[in-house]
């Protein structure tokens, strides 16, 4: 079916648009295959609002028959549009039929299933050409940049046809001494074939963060020699590595009943396992829904707000993600040991924790390019199923399938780190907000599909534009830069005390007065910095190299005290 067949009424005149903090506007509404276009009627300096239909999370329509209304057609309808970027709009449409037609077009076109029908495949701006460089980073690039790896690690293309692990990229970094055959065996022993691969190598001590999915030990405590060898090769000569299992001890035990499991002490003798419980899937999605619901009612009393905020548990999830990431960093940086992170599938909280740990540890991932590269490697190529996870956002009434705001949670955690270290990240809050929007609805192909294999099949690289490339283009880059950035080589340990964590007002209260005042403050920060740069002249704007001297933190072996199964 052609997309246009969904459109029964393409144009309506005399529509009234209401949105927060603006007077109501009258104008013309158009529905196209991918957009909702509203333009006010004034000819000179006409104002337009263009919304990707994909961005629409839910519509609510109410149709009234207004008898006694002077006009002949005494009916009209209101459509409330709730977007995935949390904006809520109201359209008053004259004519009941038009209203219903438009609502049904929106519903059909905002929930397209086929990837190639989505807008990124049609987005052809004049300033961009297809077949340009796509993406910023990859396994190979990372390997090439990281000299520390060259000795003991190699790039394996065992998954080049995606047959070993459908959700992994074509190339992964593994210990040099483990051959591809062993990798295949290990993959069979891990859920979804996600065998342990390297995610990060610490520039200071060469210790690594690995990630995988759970081992399929099952109730019979199956073993896999190759998997054990692979992990042994990771820690090489050193005596100890940590496995951070993102499930509670109990959950891990229960997983054995369904064929999953955990690395037992007897088989992986040099690895210490630490369990930290993380919520996933539906629970997270419901948490987001509750939070957004709490934020959308300003008439609550303070008490009710606080109890709703607590009840949503969102900040608790932020708290646990950050503290587990902190734990990983402690293992790597202070304890000097390698870490393997996994939950069950290894596609959500695993990626969340490993990428947050990198942000805390690695100055390179705190630059704009570095951060986007990290997202590309550790989320997009690592096979976070974006299409499933971001099919719907907080407003949708649709039954939940695979939706889960793992990526949003990551952005929130990064925002918390930025609040605590306002000088340490090169990018700004605006970048995080932009990503939070793009991940749900985008002109670009970057977040399409669930893994590299699907993207290849759909020809994403060939037929869409790359978001990250465009974010770095010189004319728009500045708004995503932090004017106060001053690089530091040290690990930036965030405080995870509840008193230190805040609601991300920039995202969740984005469409309120509150956010508007913050926007003004941000502009003022820029103008102060710009004024300074003007005065100081070009040769003085370069930040001086970091003044921090590296300090040793007193070593304490805290890990002994942890829950170890």
């Amino acid at each position: 079916m052609e997309l246009s067949e969904h459109i029964r009424t393409a144009n309506v005149e005399d529509v009234t648009l209401r949105r927060p903090f603006h007077p109501a506007l009258r104008g013309t509404l158009c529905v196209t295959s991918h957009h909702l276009l509203f333009s006010d009627r004034k000819d000179e300096d006409s104002w337009q609002l263009l919304i990707l239909l994909r961005n629409i999370d839910a519509t609510e329509k109410s149709v009234e028959n207004l008898f006694g209304y002077p006009r002949a057609v005494g009916s009209s309808g209101t459509i409330t549009i709730k977007c995935k970027d949390l904006l809520v709009l109201q359209l008053e449409i004259p004519g009941m039929e038009e209203c219903l037609n438009i609502a049904s077009s929106i519903e059909a076109l905002s929930a397209l299933e086929s990837v190639t029908e989505m807008y990124p495949f049609f987005y052809r701006p004049s300033h961009l050409t297809l077949h340009g460089p796509w993406g910023l980073s990859s396994t190979e690039k990372y390997y090439k940049q990281t000299e520390r790896l060259w000795d003991r690690w190699r790039v394996s293309t065992v998954n080049s046809d995606y047959s070993v692990c459908p959700s992994y990229p074509h190339a992964v970094i593994v210990p040099r001494e483990v051959d591809d055959e062993k990798l295949v065996q290990s993959a069979r022993f891990r859920q979804g074939g996600r065998f342990p691969v390297l995610s990060y190598c610490h520039h200071r001590n060469g210790m690594v963060i690995m990630r995988s999915s759970q081992p399929l030990t099952g109730a019979n405590r199956k073993r896999c020699k190759e998997d054990e060898l692979l992990l042994q090769a990771v820690i090489d000569g050193s005596l100890l590595g940590y496995i951070i299992d993102l499930r509670s001890t109990q959950q891990a035990q229960q997983a054995r009943m369904t064929g999953g499991g955990f690395e037992s002490k007897s088989c992986y003798s040099h690895w210490k396992r630490i369990h930290r419980h993380h919520e996933r899937g539906k629970v997270l999605q419901e948490s987001l829904i509750k939070l957004v619901e709490a934020c959308s009612d300003p008439s609550h009393s303070v008490d009710r707000w606080l109890s709703k905020l607590e009840n949503s548990k969102w900040l608790s999830h932020v708290h646990s993600a950050l503290s587990t990431a902190g734990l990983v960093v402690e293992c790597v940086e202070r304890d000097g040991h390698s870490v393997l992170v996994h939950g069950s599938e290894g596609t959500d909280s695993t990626l969340l924790v490993s990428s947050l740990a990198q942000l805390i540890l690695d100055p390179a991932s705190r630059t704009l390019t570095g951060f986007l590269g990290l997202l590309e490697r550790d989320w997009i190529q690592a096979g976070h199923p974006f299409q499933q996870r971001c099919a719907h956002s907080a407003y949708s009434h649709a039954r939940l399938k695979q939706e889960c705001p793992s990526f949003l949670l990551l952005l929130d955690c990064v925002w918390q780190v930025w609040r605590q270290f306002p000088l340490a990240l090169e990018f700004s809050e605006a970048l995080l907000l932009r990503l939070a929007q793009e991940v749900y609805a985008s002109n670009y192909g970057t977040f399409l599909c669930n893994n590299e294999q699907e993207r290849c099949a759909a020809g994403v690289k060939e037929n869409t534009h790359c978001l990250f490339q465009s974010l770095l283009s010189p004319d728009i880059e500045e708004q995503y830069l932090n004017p106060l950035y001053e690089p530091t080589d040290l690990a930036i340990w965030p405080s995870v005390h509840p008193q230190s964590l805040q609601l991300w007002t920039g995202l969740f209260l984005r469409w309120t007065e509150y956010a508007q005042n913050m926007e003004e403050a941000r502009e003022e920060v820029w103008s102060i910095v710009k004024e300074h740069r003007e005065r100081a002249g070009p040769d003085r704007t370069n930040n001086t190299p970091s003044t921090h001297c590296d300090t040793l933190t007193p070593f304490e072996n805290l890990m002994d005290e942890l829950t170890i199964l």
Partner: protein, 658 residues
Amino acid sequence: MEHIRMPKVENVWLVDRSSSRRTQVGTLYLTATHTIFVGKGSENRNELWVLHSLVCNVVKHKASQSGYPLLIHCKNFQVIQFIIPQESDCHDVYISLSRLSRPEKYEELYCFSFNPNADKAEREHSWDFLDMKAEYSRMGLPNKQWHVTPINREYRVCDTYPSDLFVPKSVTLPVIVGSSKFRSRGRFPTLSYYCKENHATICRSSQPLSGFSARCLEDEQMLQAIMKSNPGSRFMYVVDTRPKLNAMANRAAGKGYENEDNYCNIKFQFIGIENIHVMRNSLQKLIEVSALRSPTMREFLLGLENSDWLRHIKSIMEAGIFISKAVAEEGVSVLVHCSDGWDRTAQVCSVASVLLDPYYRTLKGLMVLIEKDWVSFGHKFSHRCGHLDGEDKEVSPVIDQFLECVWQFMDQFPCSFEYNEKFLISIHNHVYSCHYGNFICNSQKERKDLCIKEKTHSIWPHLWENKLDFMNPLYKPDQSQNQRLLRPSTAPFCFKYWRRLYNRFDRELHPRQSELDCLMTIKEETQQLEEELAVYEQKLAVLGKERAKTLYMQKGLLDGKQQTLWSLPLDASLVNTPQDYIDGFIGAAPNVFTLQQGERESAEISLLGDKPKCSDADNSDQESGVADFSSHSSGEESLPSEDSVKDPDSDETGPNKA
């Protein structure tokens, strides 16, 4: 000195509650004014000074392996834990401190012994720093409608009011006297704020003694005159800031509120702000929440909710918003009162003033506002802050709530305030510290009787000297956000927990890098460069264009000083401080570490040789100013003076009492 049983104790542990690694051993000294802990071992000795007047309470805990713990809670939310090896020493320190922190006479307070290197003239000058007369003339007073009445010059009509009061010109002395007899404690309606643009005013008073039916012609005339002095409107608001139930209960005691039938053209309005006892309990709960060690998110948020603190802040803010809108948008005058008119009335009038007048959003303006609405109008600082030993039931965080309201506004309007939160925190600290004379006593009269101006120093010039620390780099006086009237949102999510105040001394909870400090540095540098440029431009006039330009460029290339200014002196040790990610393992058991372990740890700390890890010492230094340490002479002159004001406080009679 006679209260100090034990001037010095050796081998005392100062426990850092966030991390046992930072615990240190040293010597504890008790002086007439301070508790001093001197860490031993490291070269740059860590010192912790705590003013006795800031001590809220001292608690002995059960003995642990390593000794006898002593917990000191301070009014500025610092919590200090010592562990003293000998039980007898611990007891002696406990007894001494308990006595020292609860002075019985004003003369024992620190401000009477505090003597910075300033001569008499300087001290007197410090009291002239703020001029109330100038403030009223800034508002545009006196004018055709309003003048100063001499009636309270000797504090005869109302001993808790200031000597100079503005009343409508049309009001005669007998009317004032009559009205004052009809008001609790003689606090008749008088002007607090005057809006030049539309002649609307905020006036304040105490509750009328109306009982169930009493009337007072003079009081009615008084209100009529206030209403008439604003020619632009035909009515005025009378705002009773109490919950209706409390106000009604007061009627049984012969007090109460204005009957709309008796007063011409008033619109009467209740705004339910709870009384001082509710607020005290609420703060107590909030402090308990803030002091939780590694709470879960749930514990923290539920605790915050249960404390009701933010709900109270909201009610005060809403009252202020109502009044500011009445004055600025409707052009209607407002009379505000509560019971006695020195707590909630002060809060609400000053909150409304901050919203109404951009002047009060400047450093000097806030000082003036506090001096006017709080100090001069007889907010009972000594009672509310518990400066002297006595009635604990009188203590209440009334001015704290005002400061927090301002903070909440600052959070919503980051570009509208000239000062930053350090300024508010500093004021908060000194309200309790008894370091300066400003916040001693309960009224202007008492301060005069005690010769505060002759014997103590004023805080305001001290804060003014340090104003660079208190500036908000984002302040834009002419910005759209900073219209005359601020219209803050009262949506529930706008109310934040003020971590910087309530967890002030828990350094590990705060951002490791400060955006504001960085911006301030940049701004200063820009200004410096601009000045440089101006100098060169002058030269340019003399030397001709080309030459000056080269000069400037050369200077720019050579001058390395600015470059170091740009990169902040960031505390490297802090960036690299691992947090407690292991469910409170580190902080969980500060009492059980053994001596050797502690010694090893403190040795490690000293080995590091970077910034002292003892956050408390640093912080108190930074916050309360160097003056804290510059003098600690023991003033032992004891003038016989009793706290004569012992009226039973009728303020805030709850419904239960009635």
